[in-house]
């Protein structure tokens, strides 16, 4: 499995990472090595095997529909890089 720079480009865009040309080239190589290593999984016949996403095997326990105390307004925005009028501020989102 060899990843091209274009593949890295595509995945980086999905992951919202902005990579320099040099990083892309290096990462294409590193990721290819990892995928090469991972390709050993292709050797095994896994058709009849169930995939496992949770190890504990237990079922979900539920929460009662009872309100808790929400955060005080000053705490909500305390870590915000940019805020205004009790809201988080971000660069304009174009719509329409």
């Amino acid at each position: 499995m060899t990843l091209s720079k274009a593949d890295v480009d595509h995945v980086a865009r999905l992951a919202r990472l902005d990579l320099s040309e040099q990083e892309k080239a290096e990462l294409a190589e590193e990721l290819s090595a990892i995928l090469d290593y991972a390709s050993q999984l292709q050797e095994v016949d896994l058709d009849a095997v169930e995939p496992m996403s949770h190890v504990s095997g237990q079922h979900a326990v539920f929460r009662k529909d009872e309100p808790h105390v929400s955060l005080p307004p000053d705490v909500v925005l305390k870590n915000a890089p940019d805020a205004e009028d009790q809201q988080f501020k971000v660069p304009a989102i174009m719509e329409g």
Binding site: V11, L17, E50, P51, M52, V55, R63, A92
Partner: protein, 490 residues
Amino acid sequence: MLDFSQGIRKLHEALRAGTTTPERLLNESFERIEHADGEINAFLRVNDLVSRDRLTTKAAIADAFSPKHLLDGIPYALKDNMCYEGIETTCASKILEGYIPPYTATVAQKLDDAGAILVGKANMDEFAMGSSTENSSYFPTKNPWHKEYVPGGSSGGSAAAVAAGMVPYALGSDTGGSIRQPSAFCGVVGLKPTYGRVSRYGLVAFASSFDQIGPITNSVEDAAIVLQAIAGADTHDATSAHIDVPDFSAKLTGDIRGLKVGVAPEFFADAMDEGVRQRVEEAVKVLKELGAEIQPISLPHTNYAIATYYLLAPAEASSNLARFDGVRYGYRSQNAQNLLDMYSKTRSEGFGREVKRRILIGTYALSSGYYDAYYKRAQKMRTLIRQDFEQAFSQVDVIVSPTTPTPAFLLGEKTKDPVTMYMTDMCTIPVNLAGLPAISVPCGLSQGLPVGLQIIGKMFDEQTILQVADAYEKAVDFAAVRTAHRKEAK
């Protein structure tokens, strides 16, 4: 002079007898940090004011201190991926620099409730991704045994802090070996509980179906005491197990006669260090002498564990780390022209190389067209690896192996080659894939560096691995080796 390595119970007794006080213990911790951490760099932050404030509050409640709990009044360190309200938590990442959590992790809350005193936040590989603590965005931590060596990772700061006597114990987190591997490298005890035994609420997620918090301590008994304090179901964590918490110290009798101990050849790789092989074989002999039955077992899919893990864990991580986008907290790039730019620049400037690498691998494994070939296949292999263990545990009570194939490596030795670095976790990763509990106890030295013996147990059977580890520890007296080394170092 007090020595934290004498164990939590001794410290507790001293507190009860009034021969020491929480303040003196805390001062001892600060002094050790002051003395040694300039070189070792185990701590990202020491919370001098917060800890003292907590002491003052405690003192105000009772004029004469009388501990209510084994951990009452005893200092500890928290890996920097666990939240404590009001105390900066960065996961050793630039992207969380300055982040002050608005809440406290369940484990820290439980320790608070027991009266424990938080000394500081320990260094780690950024977002727990790494095996050497060299991936910290702030500075690497050094191995207290030999300062040109890594302490292991990702809980390298926690392990080094305990090994260097700066705190009696610390909490780490283990996704693929991040408690056991640094514990082995630093010659201390590290316990990864069964997935679900300890609440993950407040642990900044790396790979949610693997992550588990556990203690790093000087002794097996200390590990049992700390686990006792942090274990149990949590209403804030739907994956925490609703299973009774037994008395983890109950079986620490030194008696393991009749227990069946499995040894799997798959854990003894060709490339493994000869000293490590010898120490582990000697350890198996000790267990036999103690009356355990040694039984060969097979875990045939172990060779696929690393590949499986390095698809699944990054996949989960790519999603878990997507929230670091510069909107609500943490770093935001000031060079952005628009929203898309803000996301990409913030994340590129905020994350380190290894984190980016794993986000990319994980994103790729989940992306359209590759999901079945990578992610789903790996999930299926996870099933087989789990079944291997189930099969083995129908024959034996515990499985022993080296914790790592080699002792600590040199700083900088493996940073250039991710796959080689990943190999250092070959013995620990299968355990996380299966969700099982495992402990690493020191079992001697190879080339002057500590070697770890890993003892793996059945689901929710921490009691038996603690029992075996404790019996072994009592039989070999590694503490003497440690003391000798420290004298030599001084």
